[in-house]
């Protein structure tokens, strides 16, 4: 199973839904799936917090890891990131809801409650993605 396709690598680093141009094959706007494009809509996020919230967790992690590297040396963030990668792979198929229990425990999310746990819980999402397309996207075949 080819999970190391270029598309899936890009997705793992910044998991984002709906932001950015919907590119299809050949790097052109995918009109069939996402409709006509409008440059104005895609240039800037409309809300002041949208961009900062999208990258918040990522920036926190980067900051913590670089602090750790400065204090304890390279081995500390390296070991932690290895554990994170291992834990992140424990999940169900892309269209099913996975609990991310190991990942949450590692990150310390099991001991705190924030808006991510209350609002917009994916388990209660009213939309479901088409399973075949989601799996193809994950594998980088699309």
């Amino acid at each position: 199973m080819n999970t190391r396709g270029l598309r899936s690598q890009l997705k793992d680093s910044v998991p984002v839904t709906g932001m950015g141009p919907q590119v299809g094959a050949y790097g052109v706007q995918d009109t069939l799936r996402s409709g006509f494009s409008s440059v104005k809509n895609e240039l800037l996020p409309s809300h002041a917090l949208e961009l900062s919230e999208k990258n918040f967790q990522l920036n926190q992690d980067k900051m913590n890891f670089s602090n750790l590297r400065n204090i304890q040396g390279l081995h500390a963030p390296l070991k932690l990131q290895m554990e994170y990668r291992a834990a992140r792979q424990i999940q169900r198929l892309p269209f099913l809801q996975s609990s991310h229990l190991a990942l949450d425990t590692l990150k310390g999310n099991d001991e705190s409650i924030s808006f991510e746990d209350i609002l917009n819980d994916p388990a209660q999402s009213e939309m479901m993605g088409e399973p075949h397309i989601m799996v193809e996207y994950k594998l980088g075949m699309m």
Partner: protein, 277 residues
């Protein structure tokens, strides 16, 4: 319903899908027909001070929505932990939710460590949360509590600024309340004197500010425990209803009555033993 354009599971947390719609709506409604609904603000007077035996917090009980009083008996002093209470001014929903989240986080912490949380912990968690959302969460809070390090009173602004002070007032009536506090505050006051001072401060806020009114709540936190007096003082301007609006039995006359008996017969009976050991 399976949608073919959803390529990944939506992330949890705040959802900004409707921002474009709201901006468009605001432009449409600008013609003067209708305005977007205003969120309920607490438009408030809250005050707190540190005395010899603990911390005294006070608040009024009016919540406004635009120019209408939305709630006459709103509870603005929120429970955070057994030794920490928090007064909230600003948007009512924001203060409510933020203090709820804070309380849950501190409960998890006390269950993990077996201790009562310290006031600085609460303040730091709040500060991180409010700064992360760049002031979009409109909550100005006064946190007061007693812990192993003494009696503390902190203020947290909506953008994440904090301040550690012996006496404090926030909200739309804060200038009036602060005047009273500045005049009569002394360090290490007695409990009764402190309660009277907070009451007077809130009272002046109620008198001088349109957004504050109705009753006064007082919360006294000491090492021994918490005394949440609600209401400490009721407003003199309570309205007396002239008539009762409940209809007594017999107000409506019965014209006809028809009874249809529903006959049920037992078809099947199963007994399942419950294991109560």
């Amino acid at each position: 319903m399976a949608l073919s354009n959803v390529l990944e599971i939506p992330t949890s947390g705040f959802n900004f899908e409707n921002v474009a719609r709201n901006v468009a709506l605001e432009g449409l409604l600008e013609g003067g027909q209708t305005k977007t609904p205003k969120p309920m603000k607490t438009g408030t007077t809250i005050a707190g001070l540190v005395c010899k035996e603990g911390v005294v917090l006070g608040a009024d009980t009016r919540a406004t929505s635009g120019e209408v009083v939305a709630d006459k008996m709103c509870a603005k002093i929120h429970y955070i932990s057994p030794n920490i209470y928090c007064c909230g001014a600003g948007t009512a929903a924001d203060t409510e939710k933020t203090t709820d989240l804070l309380s849950s986080n501190l409960t998890i912490f006390s269950m993990n460590s077996g201790r009562n949380p310290r006031v600085v912990m609460a303040v730091n968690i709040l500060q991180d949360m409010l700064f992360r959302y760049r002031g979009q969460i409109g909550a100005s809070l006064i946190l007061g509590g007693v812990d192993c390090n003494g009696n503390h009173l902190y203020t947290v602004g909506p953008y994440g600024s904090i301040d550690n002070v012996p006496y404090l007032a926030m909200g739309s009536g804060d200038l009036a309340a602060l005047g009273i506090l500045e005049d009569r505050f002394k360090p290490n006051m007695e409990m009764e004197e402190a309660k009277e001072l907070v009451r007077d401060a809130i009272h002046s806020g109620i008198m001088s500010d349109l957004g504050s009114g109705n009753n006064i709540d007082i919360c006294v936190i000491t090492k021994q425990g918490v005394d949440y007096i609600r209401p400490y003082q009721e407003s003199e301007y309570k309205d007396k209803r002239q008539k009762r609006y409940k209809y007594g039995p017999g107000t409506t006359s019965i014209l006809t009555e028809k009874i249809v008996p529903l006959e049920l017969e037992v078809v099947q009976e199963t007994v399942q033993r419950m294991d109560t050991a």
